[in-house]
Subunit: 184 residues, 2 copies
């Protein structure tokens, strides 16, 4: 209840209104804008470093949310020369589960959604927790096309934006209530 | 998508914000206020006559909502002298399913929620449809106590309000998408 009242206060929303975006809205209205301009800021989506923060510390960094919290984060590479993402924190690691889901706007593939679960300890001997994260990334191909079409600065600028976008993600964090209470 | 844009326009909400109230919020922030003062109006909850409207005509009466729509309605008695609710429309009827659910605010029982399914035709030979309604009513006992405590006009006014509240309900309508397309 406290979070709910904070949320309403922050945006002066009537009771019952919440940030409950669809996958497609998250990608087209939030992530795409952040990738296009790193200065883009949204009250509903804070910025967090998911390698420096444990999942149970993240909710307090969000400006709204009761059971789900949204963040922008820069992906950290596992090795300086490779493309693999570093998903470890000090006390554990995020591990992907299931298949990535394609996100469409109409018939256009605008992005992908990966589901990850947090394990405490070190792989492969970690203990599964109740923390779940959905990581959204842009479809870089579509993004390149739409940016170069929409951009005044032409193809060169567009392709440099795509390079940046590889590292950007939008994250939707959720947790089994019992784990939150256990950890905080 | 059209509904979503209307919604954002009506309240000037950023993308991804929606009216997704909890059962308890619907009762304490909306239904209780409507019962206490029939002039209470909320953008998110329109007024509708559920005996005069078929379910597929209701969404267009709501000022927001994509897959769910919220309405206040006055209950119609089946017989002038009885307490049973008339749930028939011209083309069919709403039939309760399952058990009513108690809605709590903390430990206080603030109201009840009944789930109903729409059948076309006449009972008991109607055909089940994809339209589902959740009907919220106040816990009249709690409401009487809190109204008389909070009211300046004393016990008499409070009890007349309780009499009115018997007829008030807040309704949350949802539909299997395929049925909407089939009907509209």
């Amino acid at each position: 209840m406290e979070h709910s009242e904070q949320e309403q206060h922050a945006m002066d929303l009537p009771p019952g209104f919440r940030f409950h975006p669809t996958d497609e809205e998250l990608i087209t209205h939030y992530l795409a804008k952040k990738v296009a301009d790193a200065r883009f800021a949204a009250l509903a989506v804070s910025v967090a470093d998911l390698n420096k923060c444990e999942p149970w510390d993240l909710p307090s960094l969000a400006r709204m949310g009761e059971k789900e919290w949204y963040f922008f984060c820069l992906k950290d590479r596992k090795y300086p020369t490779g493309l693999r993402t570093n998903r470890a924190t000090e006390s554990g690691y995020w591990k992907a589960t299931g298949k990535d889901k394609d996100i469409f706007r109409g018939k256009a593939l605008v992005g992908m959604k990966k589901t990850l679960v947090f394990y405490t300890g070190r792989a492969p001997k970690g203990d599964k927790s109740g923390w779940v994260m959905h990581e959204y990334r842009l479809n870089a191909k579509l993004h390149a096309a739409s940016t170069s079409r929409g951009s005044l600065s032409g193809g060169r600028a567009a392709s440099s934006k795509v390079a940046t976008s590889f590292h950007h993600a939008c994250v939707y964090l959720a947790c089994d209530r019992s784990y939150i209470l256990g950890h905080s």
